[in-house]
């Protein structure tokens, strides 16, 4: 029976070309946008090198210091906060403290080159699994000795050295001359923890005043021994933050800088999150994304429902015949839902191709630095799921209306 439904579905689509075009346009446009959004979310949050061990990591990139009736200060946390309170947490295998990327300028051969420099400790390279195309990362000894060494990405390598060897070469940036000791692949800007053009030891900063700041300029990432340790790590760090000694206790007596998973950490940056609340804020972003997706898909769904209702009424005679020859209402609902799902899956396939093309354009445009957006199996599965849901939602109601048709009235070509 399914084969017969599918055959009829394709025949109906082929015969009613204008209806098919209008429906497919709406479906494929909607699904293209949803698949683009899915691809961006996937490229941002799905585990992939150099964040392959993401399910074992927690991080913080947003803190809030405040006092009831006093001041409120929301920014990145300071080096001191992590250095003093995040070391030695139970269940943590590694901790890395790193500065947020800083735009630096170089003028090789009279050319102006802007790069993003991220100063990190040596643990950074042990938590994040970068592939070294050339050379190696800097070590604890390099960091302790404040050696002006740098790891650069492929693009920076190409911009500074072209075809010449990069290892051992130097780059002048932020008032210092760095010797290149390693080259890694470009990392998309969407991956905020590993992203940079150049990485250098944290100790190469112009002054060591950062070591005394509770707030400002630093992020942390911890690698847990196992997944079961994650809640304990979060809890213990939050407890430790209650013991923070404030340099200005008249204005500040509380600091919130929880170690979140990647999605929760990202959500904490969103304007609607409550940064004074140490509990995870990811659910708000999840809800927001869901509401946005539903609202975005609602209009084309309602439109498709309307088109389907009128299309089904046009086929009243067929409904009457099928009922007369033994189709129950349930069987007819099945038939029309299958037809609609076929339509939306065709729309989904077109949407997938369009999304693939647009992702290529987006990658090439440089709008998102080093973007490597792609339609992998996961995005395809999401797209397929979205198309299926779309097909079911927009097909079930018209099919139900149709199945309620009285067979005699249907044979006369009108709904009761």
């Amino acid at each position: 029976m399914l084969a017969s439904y599918l055959k009829l579905a394709f025949k109906v689509l082929a015969r009613r070309k204008f209806f098919t075009f209008v429906s497919l346009f709406g479906i494929s446009f909607t699904l293209t946008v949803l698949m683009l959004a899915t691809a961006v979310l996937d490229a941002t949050f799905a585990p992939a090198a150099p964040e392959s061990r993401q399910e074992l990591t927690l991080g913080n990139s947003r803190a809030m210091m405040f006092k009831d009736g006093g001041n409120r200060w929301s920014s990145e946390a300071g080096y001191l906060l992590f250095d003093r309170y995040a070391r030695g947490l139970g269940g943590v295998e590694r901790l890395s403290i790193y500065a947020s990327p800083q735009a630096v300028y170089s003028y090789p051969d009279g050319r102006k080159i802007q790069s993003f420099l991220k100063r990190t400790d040596a643990e950074f390279w042990r938590i994040l699994d970068f592939t070294f195309l050339e050379g190696a990362p800097y070590t604890d000894a390099d960091v302790q000795a404040a050696r002006a060494v740098a790891v650069i990405n492929e693009t920076t390598r190409h911009r500074f050295f072209g075809e010449k060897p990069a290892i051992g070469g130097t780059i002048e940036a932020d008032g210092r001359r760095y010797t290149v000791i390693g080259v890694v692949p470009d990392v998309s800007r969407l991956r905020t923890a590993p992203f940079a053009d150049m990485w250098a030891p944290v100790t190469t900063a112009k002054s060591d005043s950062y070591r005394r700041d509770l707030m400002g300029g630093f992020n942390a990432i911890v690698l847990a021994r196992d997944r079961s340790s994650l809640p304990r790590i979060r809890e213990e760090f939050n407890e430790r933050l209650k013991t923070v000694e404030f340099t200005d206790p008249r204005n500040y007596d509380t600091i919130v800088a929880p170690l979140d998973n990647k999605f929760d950490a990202f959500a904490r940056e969103a304007p609607f999150s409550d940064r004074s609340d140490p509990s995870p804020q990811g659910w708000k972003l999840r809800l927001g994304l869901l509401v946005a997706a539903v609202l975005f898909a609602l209009l084309p769904t309602v439109n498709l429902i309307n088109v389907n209702v009128s299309r089904i009424m046009e086929r009243a005679s067929e409904i009457g015949v099928r009922k007369a020859f033994g189709a129950s209402s349930r069987v007819l609902v099945g038939q029309f839902v299958v037809e609609n799902v076929v339509l939306t899956l065709v729309g989904g396939a077109i949407g997938l191709v369009l999304a693939g093309l647009l992702l290529r354009v987006l990658n090439a445009s440089g709008l998102i630095q080093y973007a490597d957006l792609s339609l992998n199996l996961r995005v395809f599965a999401y797209g397929f799921g979205l198309a299926l849901l779309f097909g079911l939602f927009s097909g079930v109601y018209p099919a139900w209306r149709m199945s309620r048709m009285h067979p005699v009235e249907a044979l006369k070509g009108a709904a009761r």
Binding site: A3, G320, K323, A324, F325, S328, V331, L411
Partner: protein, 242 residues
């Protein structure tokens, strides 16, 4: 002797032949109600149709012929009264139950053919079998046999729009008989055809009755065709008058 008395005698005779009754209607009433008016479409109709009988229903437009056929075919539920098909009273009016009985016991032929334009002749004929558990090959075999039976074995891959009216009605007959139902209900099957094509359709129906012992009830306006059936049931204003 009044018409009502004659009809009463005929009913008594029909009741005596219960063992061989394909369709029995008892006290059928069909009333259509809207907020303002109530229309009586059928009133106190009782009749029996013997298995293998070819009966025609005649009467002026709007007298309830098609409504009566729809009640016999379980496409419409009577307001009151009983329908018995092949000895089994119809007690459930549930959608699935009625659909299953229609699929098994009844074949329909309509004045306007009601073929699905998107489907080939063969696919149209297969429709009743789609709602039975049946392998594809068997379905195809039966549909081809039904098309052969109506002389359209060479047009199986055509679409309805590529056929003449007479050919379309023959496809509709093939669709009606493909599931080997014991009852065929034909609602003005020749109404949209010229007299020659109409005679062809009548010949097929008579042949089906003679060879397969199929019970046929045909609504018609055409007295000449009605005369070719075994019995004429006449309706007027929703009542039997013979």
């Amino acid at each position: 002797m009044t018409a009502a008395t004659l009809a009463g005698r005929a009913d008594a005779r029909e009741a005596a032949e219960t063992t061989d009754t394909a369709i029995r209607l008892q006290g059928i009433e069909k009333v259509y109600r809207t907020e303002r008016i109530e229309t009586v479409a059928l009133s106190d109709i009782s009749l029996d149709v013997r298995a293998g009988e070819f009966v025609s229903i005649m009467g002026p437009s709007g007298c309830g012929k098609s409504t009566l056929l729809n009640v016999m075919g379980l496409l419409d539920v009577p307001t009151s009264g009983t329908v018995v098909l092949n000895g089994a009273p119809i007690t459930s009016h549930g959608d699935r139950d009625l659909a299953a009985i229609r699929n098994r016991e009844i074949g329909f032929i309509f004045q306007t053919f009601h073929l699905i334009p998107d489907l080939s002749v063969l696919d149209n004929v297969e429709i009743p079998l789609l709602y039975r558990r049946m392998p594809n090959g068997e379905r195809r075999r039966r549909a081809l046999a039904a098309l052969d039976r109506v002389g359209l074995g060479s047009r199986v891959h055509h679409f309805p729009s590529q056929l003449s009216g007479g050919q379309q009605q023959r496809v509709a007959i093939a669709r009606a008989i493909v599931g080997s139902p014991r009852i065929l209900l034909a609602d003005e099957p020749t109404g949209n055809l010229d007299s020659q094509m109409g005679d062809e359709i009548m010949a097929i129906l008579k042949d089906l009755q003679a060879r397969e012992r199929t019970t046929i009830v045909m609504v018609t306006h055409d007295g000449h065709q009605a005369q070719q059936t075994e019995r004429i049931i006449r309706l007027f204003d929703g009542r039997r008058v013979n």
